[in-house]
């Protein structure tokens, strides 16, 4: 036994260290993925017996208006949420200067990310609230007629995304600020001697050095957009008449909410969401793998 251990210690040790984490990952991530996958072929209310119904859940999804609304909103979320990346970069560059008290300004800009999403949602609901909300009053003062953003199917998703962008921009900003700290001053100096400044400096000297930060910023923003749930739940509960639903919220509504308990249907939505996420995640993993092997 001991001789076996002695011989193979180097080969076994990493696996032993990995084991606790891997076991957790298996129990809480990998196995549930397959359970959801199999559950999506059943009709089950969470109480009685589950009946196997084949792909009926997916067939129903194809003909479900609410599903398409959620899908469309997810696409809008994804597209607009990515604005957090340039916006965060802009603020980070803006704050990357040596002025008295700059640390205070930096922490103030970072503040929205520290607040819980629930609080952000509540603040924005009051901001938009008809009759007394600041935004409502502003629109009323400008146009003579207030718009209740969260009660209007045309604006509601955009209204929630703006609320989501606020903390997300702060997050991206902090990523870029740390990135900017690591920029090689000699390169900037050299570029300056060569006459680079303004956009040229940003595009050809600063941004290439920020690539790792940009990559992380895009990853967290894309994942954040796809799993957006809390703001929708807090601000509108999916309404009005379900027009601000996103896939994760629709899944929750179908499987776990007061009026739901269609576990199979919820699982089918989860599988679709998982598939969409997989496209991005595999893209990211592929890029990381390529970067590592290139070196």
């Amino acid at each position: 036994m001991t001789s076996y251990w002695k011989r193979n210690q180097l080969r076994l040790a990493p696996w032993l260290f990995l084991a606790p984490g891997a076991a957790m990952f298996l129990v809480y991530v990998i196995i549930p993925i397959f359970q959801s996958l199999s559950l999506s072929f059943y009709d089950w209310d969470g109480l009685g017996d589950a009946t196997y119904i084949g792909t009926a859940n997916y067939v129903e999804l194809l003909d479900d208006e609410a599903f398409y609304t959620s899908l469309k909103n997810n696409v809008i979320w994804l597209a607009l949420y990515l604005l957090a990346v340039p916006a965060g970069l802009f603020i980070a560059i803006f704050l990357n200067q040596t002025v008295r008290g700059i640390r205070i300004y930096k922490s103030l800009f970072f503040f929205p990310f520290v607040i819980s999403q629930v609080v952000v949602g509540l603040m924005f609901s009051w901001f938009y609230a008809p009759n007394f909300g600041l935004f409502y009053k502003l629109i009323e003062w400008l146009t003579g007629d207030g718009i209740a953003i969260l009660a209007d199917e045309k604006y509601v998703t955009y209204g929630i995304i703006v609320a989501g962008l606020w903390p997300q921009i702060a997050y991206v900003m902090i990523l870029y600020i740390t990135g900017l700290n690591n920029i090689a001053p000699d390169q900037v100096e050299a570029a300056r001697l060569d006459g680079a400044k303004g956009w040229k400096m940003l595009w050809h000297v600063i941004l290439p050095q920020l690539r790792p930060a940009t990559f992380i910023a895009v990853v967290v923003t894309v994942i954040g957009a796809l799993r957006s749930f809390d703001l929708v739940s807090i601000m509108t509960d999916g309404g009005p008449w379900g027009s601000s639903r996103v896939l994760s919220f629709y899944m929750y509504e179908q499987a776990l909410s007061e009026y739901g308990f269609r576990m199979g249907y919820g699982a089918a939505i989860a599988v679709v969401l998982f598939a969409i996420m997989m496209v991005f995640i595999s893209g990211f993993i592929w890029k990381m793998w390529r970067d590592e092997t290139e070196r």
């Binding site: 209310d45 109480l47 209740a148 009660a151 008449w241 776990l256 009026y259």
Partner: protein, 410 residues
């Protein structure tokens, strides 16, 4: 080490002693979802029960109201209590059909409950058996601001046409005739219930919520036609407003009427309204000559199928159903007793009016989201909300509801 051992011995001894003490008093585990005020009322009732049955100790596990709706699905199958709160009507059907609630028809038969709780019996019955005992209900109707009526010089209406005529006058005075907050959807289900009950009658409404009639039926369209009449006079932006915020509009005199349940009286009064300024009105007649039915959501207690102390649980159900217990309980709850031998506080005009309205009603509905299966209720209420904002989409909405009906009631 020795210290540790003696400590362990003491613990074991203590455990054994408490074990023998429990052998004489039987425990009754009760899972409930009371808000603070009802909780106090129920603790008093439980104390009375323990006084009458000194050998039974009731352990009340109180849950958060919203969390309970999810928790019940777990504890019924995992760690079943002896008693559990729930709701009457279709809301209890999933648990009854899954065999999670115990048939308590014998409690009804042995205690003459069929007669005493006659008004609630139908909503407790599935497959000809009773599955629990109701302890309270409350009326729905129109709550109105008397000052606003006076200021607009308007009489309290007796018919729907009269109500709509008043609305024009309220509008001229810059007041919303009807207010509501549909952010959580359910408040507008009350409006639909009453419009449909008054337009088409109780039987049609029950057939509709039971999935026996098509949503595209002309009678349903007639209900929505009545609703369309009041839409121009309804609070704008209701989809972004919670029901409490709409209550504030009534209190502030910015709205005249509010279709609500009696629990809202507490909110109106907190806002500063009194019995002199707040009025209650039974929803006015639409189709002349229809027998009058009312919405009266009923709260109930059930014995889970996995209960360990069934005998004492049945004793408790019989106790809660008793007229004197229901009188005391509902006086504290500020709601209406389901036992017809019980009495209500005559000094409370809203309870008296509600008791009168419900006991003289032809039949009682539970409420849209309890009469219809949960899924249909959700899709239905979303449809109502959409209709209220975009009335011209009615046909598309009804087609969608009809499609859902095909799927949900198989």
């Amino acid at each position: 080490m020795t210290q540790l051992k003696t400590g362990a011995f003491a613990l074991t001894a203590a455990l054994m002693m408490s074990g023998s003490a429990f052998a004489q008093t039987r425990t009754l585990n009760y899972n409930a979802d009371f808000d603070p005020a009802p909780l106090a009322a129920f603790q008093a009732i439980i104390a009375d029960f323990e006084a009458e049955n000194p050998d039974v100790k009731v352990t009340l596990n109180n849950f958060d109201h919203e969390g309970y709706k999810t928790a019940i699905r777990n504890f019924l199958s995992a760690d079943s209590p002896d008693l559990a709160n729930w709701y009457a009507g279709n809301r209890m059907a999933p648990f009854v059909n899954a065999g999670q609630f115990m048939d308590v028809s014998d409690v009804w038969a042995d205690n003459g409950l069929s007669e005493q709780l006659a008004s609630a019996k139908a909503s407790m019955t599935i497959d000809g058996k009773q599955w629990g005992v109701p302890y309270t209900y409350y009326q729905w109707g129109i709550y109105y601001n008397k000052d606003v009526y006076k200021a607009a010089g308007v009489e309290v209406p007796t018919t729907w046409d009269g109500f709509i005529e008043n609305c024009a006058k309220f509008k001229a005075a810059g007041v919303d005739c009807l207010t509501t907050g549909s952010k959580a959807l359910w408040p507008i289900a009350g409006i639909f219930d009453y419009l449909n009950l008054r337009t088409n009658g109780y039987e049609f409404h029950m057939d509709l919520t039971a999935g026996k009639v098509a949503w595209t039926d002309d009678k349903v369209k007639a209900t929505f036609a009545e609703w369309a009449k009041v839409l121009p006079y309804t609070t704008e932006n209701h989809a972004a407003i919670d029901w409490q915020d709409a209550a504030a509009l009534l209190v502030q005199g910015k709205a005249a009427n509010y279709v609500m349940g009696n629990f809202a009286v507490a909110n109106f009064k907190e806002g500063g309204m009194t019995n002199d300024t707040l009025g209650f009105l039974v929803f006015p007649e639409i189709t002349a000559g229809l027998p009058r039915a009312e919405d009266a959501p009923t709260d109930t207690i059930h014995i889970p199928a996995g209960a360990k102390n069934v005998d004492d649980a049945k004793k408790f159900l019989a106790f809660v159903a008793r007229a004197d217990v229901q009188t005391k309980l509902n006086a504290a709850l500020g709601q209406l007793p389901t036992n017809k031998g019980a009495t209500v506080d005559a000094a409370d005009p809203f309870l008296s009016a509600g008791f009168e309205a419900l006991s003289s009603a032809y039949a009682l509905a539970q409420f849209f989201d309890r009469d219809a299966p949960a899924e249909m209720a959700k899709i239905g209420m979303e449809g109502f909300q959409e209709f209220m904002v975009k009335p011209d989409r009615l046909d598309a909405i009804l087609d969608r509801l009809e499609k859902s009906r095909d799927r949900i009631y198989k």
